[in-house]
């Protein structure tokens, strides 16, 4: 109905318009478009306004009715309930890694998962900063980036929790086998 809000259109053009506007989404099947139009017509949200025939079969052009426009506005104002807590496959894997291996195994898994997430975030960042990006693609990329960012924040926190299980002396040995220090009295950390 959103695609019909601007101008009347027929099923073929609606399918093309959908696939162009939501390029990241699965393309619509023609059957799905016509079935939806029939369902919306039955509810009197859309109505046939004209039948045209140009070099091929007849095409019924549909328009949005006043009831359809009201329904569209109601749908746009409808707030989605925030997602309920979901299963976290990363936490399960990190825990199993510690059960079958040790802290280092869990750490390796979490670090590798973190790199994979950041790679994916790079992909969506390149997509949304492409000079030719469409609004629909930029919004889809933002959505993916913010979800990946939430996972990354969790992965960083999980790494900190796992690190806390390693004795401090062992951490220094693992990360810094050749460190040297020199006394000084006037510096402040940055």
């Amino acid at each position: 109905m959103g695609l019909l809000a601007g101008e009347d259109s027929h099923g073929y053009d609606l399918k093309q318009q959908h696939d162009l506007t939501f390029a990241g989404a699965k393309p619509l099947a023609f059957g799905q478009v016509y079935a939806t139009l029939e369902r919306l017509a039955k509810k009197e949200f859309v109505a046939p306004v004209e039948v045209e025939q140009v070099d091929g079969p007849e095409r019924t052009i549909y328009g949005l009715t006043a009831a359809g426009r009201a329904e569209l506005e109601r749908w746009l104002g409808d707030i989605q309930p925030p997602a309920p807590p979901v299963a976290n496959p990363f936490a399960v894997k990190a825990t199993i890694a510690m059960l079958v291996g040790d802290v280092a195994d869990a750490r390796r898994y979490l670090s590798a998962q973190r790199s994979a997430h950041l790679d994916r975030m790079r992909f969506f960042t390149r997509r949304k900063t492409d000079p030719a990006v469409t609004l629909a693609d930029a919004l889809a990329a933002d959505y993916a980036i913010f979800h990946l960012d939430a996972d990354l924040a969790w992965l960083d926190a999980a790494l900190e929790r796992v690190d806390a299980l390693i004795p401090a002396s062992q951490q220094a040995d693992e990360l810094d086998p050749t460190s040297t220090t020199r006394p000084s009295t006037t510096r402040t950390p940055t």
């Binding site: 900063t129 810094d176 050749t178 460190s179 040297t180 006394p183 950390p189």
Partner: protein, 244 residues
């Protein structure tokens, strides 16, 4: 059928990237202590020409200390820093200052513009300090302000600009000498929402066009995602990353 909505309708295609593979900044086994407290622990990192590298890690990972050593602001207790193959960690303060003005650009979280100067004068400052004549320096400044889309602010003082505008002026000042490498410490840390995205998009575009490598210090994965690769730090050591 109507055209899909564009986000950057006036944007022009990016210039082709020169993928020269030489190293512009190299740090080897860098250590640095604050008093008796060891901070940087034998950290090594290379940045290649045209490359954008993000240094990430939790607070206290000493990311900024690594950056300041690589930029020649701090002298490491041990280890070696090279710019374009030249050892700078052993150079005198005067020589390091000269290098910082000519081959290195530095951008901080809060632009740190000189409040008494206009945007044009702020951007021209590194050139004037290097001995350029004022009209030529101001002309160059106008060009770099243009690249960051803030040419219209040339005669404005920092207190007349928004945070995002001031940061773009600061970025123009960091780039005005066309440095080999730009060090950017949390460049979007003080910016909200899309202002941060706009800042990062411009830094990446301008640096790619100028052939300047960028070393980004950030705790924000969304900013790190603008880089070609990530170097992860933990407790003063480079934990994940690679040498060129």
């Amino acid at each position: 059928m109507s055209k899909p909505l564009q986000v950057h309708p006036a944007a022009s295609p990016e210039r082709a990237v020169n993928t020269h593979d030489s190293i512009v900044v190299s740090g080897r086994y860098l250590s640095y202590s604050y008093g008796r407290q060891p901070a940087l622990r034998s950290a090594s990192l290379d940045v290649r020409r045209n490359e954008i590298v993000a240094v990430t890690g939790p607070s206290g990972a000493v990311k900024s200390t690594l950056m300041l050593c690589l930029a020649g602001v701090l002298v490491p207790d041990s280890g070696e820093v090279r710019h374009d193959g030249q050892v700078i960690s052993a150079a005198s303060e005067a020589e390091r200052s000269r290098l910082r003005r000519s081959t290195v650009g530095v951008l901080f979280q809060f632009g740190q513009l000189v409040p008494e100067l206009t945007a044009g004068e702020n951007v021209a400052l590194p050139l004037l300090l290097a001995g350029a004549r004022r009209p030529a320096a101001l002309r160059a400044a106008a060009d770099w302000l243009d690249r960051f889309d803030v040419r219209g602010l040339s005669d404005s003082r920092p207190n007349e600009m928004s945070g995002g505008q001031a940061q773009r002026v600061a970025a123009a000042r960091a780039m005005v000498t066309a440095p080999s490498v730009l060090f950017a410490d949390e460049p979007t840390g003080a910016l909200d929402g899309l202002a941060g995205e706009r800042m990062m998009t411009q830094i990446v575009r301008v640096a790619r066009e100028a052939g300047t490598a960028v070393l980004l210090i950030t705790h924000d994965a969304k900013v790190a995602a603008y880089a070609d690769r990530e170097v992860r730090m933990y407790d003063g050591a480079v934990e994940q990353g690679d040498l060129a």
